[in-house]
Symmetry: D2
Subunit: 130 residues, 4 copies
Amino acid sequence: MLREHEIQIRVRYQETDAQGHVHHANYLNYFEMGRIELLRANGTNYREFEASGKMLVVSKIACRYFHPARYDDLVTLKTTTTHIRGARLEHHYELTRKGTLLVEGETTIACVDQDGKVCRLPGFLLLEKD
Amino acid sequence: MLREHEIQIRVRYQETDAQGHVHHANYLNYFEMGRIELLRANGTNYREFEASGKMLVVSKIACRYFHPARYDDLVTLKTTTTHIRGARLEHHYELTRKGTLLVEGETTIACVDQDGKVCRLPGFLLLEKD
Amino acid sequence: MLREHEIQIRVRYQETDAQGHVHHANYLNYFEMGRIELLRANGTNYREFEASGKMLVVSKIACRYFHPARYDDLVTLKTTTTHIRGARLEHHYELTRKGTLLVEGETTIACVDQDGKVCRLPGFLLLEKD
Amino acid sequence: MLREHEIQIRVRYQETDAQGHVHHANYLNYFEMGRIELLRANGTNYREFEASGKMLVVSKIACRYFHPARYDDLVTLKTTTTHIRGARLEHHYELTRKGTLLVEGETTIACVDQDGKVCRLPGFLLLEKD
């Protein structure tokens, strides 16, 4: 199972703010894209996963901002799974532009059922051998 | 029944873009707030309406931009119902700052059921006498 | 000069709303991506254009919504330049999923200087021969 | 000087996602609104502050999500300044609905000049006596 995955993201105009760079909240959307593509690279389609009646919800985030991304930048996001167990998934994120670290973060994701009750991650997400 | 309603909106930082003013897509969110508050002023809670199994979806918008709103502006949105009949609701919007017209628009809203099929607006929305 | 360009867009989770599909305001961001990529395909980098002291602002939009896009859909946006003259650029947009038309729209873009005054489009944008 | 301030926020439709509640990235916009209104309650207009050539940028955030906010919820955000010194401002945030804690977070804000260089907070922000 892949633990690491990289995607490239082109910064959209709408993601910037009047300070001229990406609004700090929008990096969280990039992180979400990163973990979804990591799942896809491992053969898991998150939309189908949700259709099965469970969903993944973010329970915790942390983020450090070093340098701003700007409109039209082509940035690279590396997403790493750092922990999978029980009902919990943890990821680490590094957003870079030509090798310079712009933003770094971590999320903890919980698996919940349709009533919002925490439940065990399905087997295919728990396979930790690589 | 009220046909016109005004709300005040404080422009958020995240709604601006690198050009220094509100990104043009975000005015559509203001319009949506305007028509929801017009419904509320008429005694209709849109959340409860959706809970009843129907929903209102935007089928058409038009928008003209005259002057930009900027971060922290306190702008006034006047929403007017211009047409209610069958499955269709039409609104007109005028966004002003201290009397100056910034943005103007219209939307057509359709009532659909959970399968996305167009259906008649409920009776309380059709009452057109004032 | 190319008058038509197609891009593919993967719908992001954050772009959806509680009705389960893309919020209607977000299609305007897709349109913006479409015209920027059309400019790029024609050799014009919009970021550099802005750095030259002029900018393009949206003065008018119209949009019809036929079918909703959903999370994780891979949709196709065809952007067509329909008019270039003086200070004005007009585009037409068709968003499709596997050949089905979801959303269709038009925008009028004006060229303005840093004071917001309308000014003539630069020569390289006015070249209309293909 | 006030260290604590409360605002009420009505959840917008556009802020929700297909899971039916506020997308996790959007709470960061609420936090930003909270600290701007705390500044305003203390007599500081952030827009004027930016016009003076300095700006505040987020350098660090942390956020824990306990319960989701839903469309049309009227939520209460309490913003507390926990640290002001040199070039750094720290805030704590508690978002509640009818007394139930939904989301909790912290941000670290740095003061930078137009070149992005960290600089001392202006005097009026450093006054810590109340």
